[in-house]
Amino acid sequence: MNKSRFFLYTLIAIPIALMIIPTVIVLAVALIPTGVAFLVERSKGYYGGLTVGCMNLAGASPYLFDLWFKGHTVDAAVGIITNVFAWMMFYGAAMFGWAIYSTTPSLVSTFMTMTSGRRITALRAQQRELVQKWGPDVESVYEPEGGKPQADPTSMASMAG
């Protein structure tokens, strides 16, 4: 982002922020976990920050709606940010988001491993049928370009299966 565009956005954002100061106060406190998540996120895509952000915002939404529907004042905003339950809600939801971010890759990996294992078993069965019908001369060993494949303990396990 170049300097002139940043200056333009700042000029637009400051008046709006001044108009919605109570909301800004609440969000500034509520979305701290989201900011931390973006900061600690190292991988591309900012999936951690987004996941935590979504859940964090979902957790903050009841208090934000209360603020908007029952009086959009600084006092009301201060009342929310001094409420322990509100903090529990903000940070609990953020923790849940972080939990989602942490566990889904391993769940997906397990699922994919199970799927490929079944596929290998089916291919081995197909190969056995070919050998039964056409004899051992149909057998061949696949060697990828650039040399023989290295031994892989997982392949041995799947062959045994």
């Binding site: 996941t51 490929s116 696949y142």
Partner: protein, 470 residues
Amino acid sequence: MYSFGVSVLILAVGRNPLQGMPDGEIIKRKIQQGSYATLVGDERMPVSLIECLRGLLTDDPEQRWQAGNIDLWLNGKRLTPIQAKAEPQSQRPLRFADMEFHSVRPLSYAMYQNWDKAISIITDGTLEIWIRRGLELNDLADGIATAIKSSGAMSGGNKSDMEDLIVARVLMLMDPRMPVRFRDFRSFVDGFGQSLAVTMLRKQKLQSHTDFINRDLWRHWIAAQSKAAAEFQQFENVFRDLKNYLKDPNSGAGIERCVYELNEWQPCMSPLIEAQYTMEVKGVLPALDAAVKNANTKLWPVDRHVAAFLRARYAKGTGGQIDAMNDSRPDRATIGMLSVLAIVQWRLGPEALHNLAGWIGGLMGPVINSYQNRNRRKDIEKELPKLVRKGNLAEIYNYLDNPEERQRDAEGFNWAKAEYASAERMIYDLEHGQVDRQESAIKSGRQMGTAGAFVIMLVTLLFTLLAKLL
């Protein structure tokens, strides 16, 4: 005619004048005195027969009386046989094997009888000097010198072989009328075929006969003859072919082929059918059919003799098939063997050969196994006994070597190989793609988590909003 002359002489005398005399002594006397003088000896011959007997017992085959001469003699025409020219005699004798010799032919015979001693007087120059100085036969001496020089290169470097070849060639030069003599072997060139057949029938060693062909002994004998004969060119062609047969180690060639090529009326000498005296190609299959009872059916019915016999007698019909029989691949060789028999049966009959078909059926393992498709093999094993019962070898051949089935099998096999390789590659990719899959799973999991959180957020916002509004 010579034998006829001897028979007439024995009848005239009333007994065999040489009865009890060793063969060696008879030959020696014939060489020294001539056949007539040896046979007649001190016997008194009827004057009327002397002319005829002299003519029939002339040692030179070209001078010997033939049937026409006898006819003329019977009609009263007087024919005086040309007297053989006296052999040159040396004043100075040559001592060899404790005997003294004054002429070449008797010495030649003694050298043949004392083969191992003969080489010494040849190589030390004694013989050549004696012939040159004592007999003044310079052409013969030059011929001996040339034979000694050239035999070294022809024998391939082996000293014993070289010496044998030198002795044989020198004996040919010294007495061209004698047969080719090579250690224990002796044969005229035109009688070589019969000699080979007899030796083979007696199951004796054939080394001398193969040497006769391979070492060109016949050619040296022809070269030693003083006069060229019309059949010599024929020998050239015949022995060139024989040499090629000997070089070829395959069935349908070899020494067996030589014997059948040289003896037009020689029956097949295969141990399988020898007793059945099979002289014609047409008789080979019935003979084999009858031989099944006593044959080892694990061996092929087309052995080297049968193959050579068929090749020599029926080359046009069986040449290609016998070539196929010599294929290095067992399945192709077996189907080639079947094709040899099938084509003979198809062309010459008989219509059914039940025993031979059964024998052949038991040998078709390599052909059945040449099909890759196991189901096809089972089908053949089921169908083959039915064809065997018909006894038609051509049908068996056509069924086993069906080109369409062969092509289908080959195509199916190639497809199966490709399928196997494809599966192998996919398995490899699945097994060796673990790292990539882990990265993919992490990325997908994070995306899915983010998407899920976004959905939860939207739902929460919606419900909260609705709760406030309602």
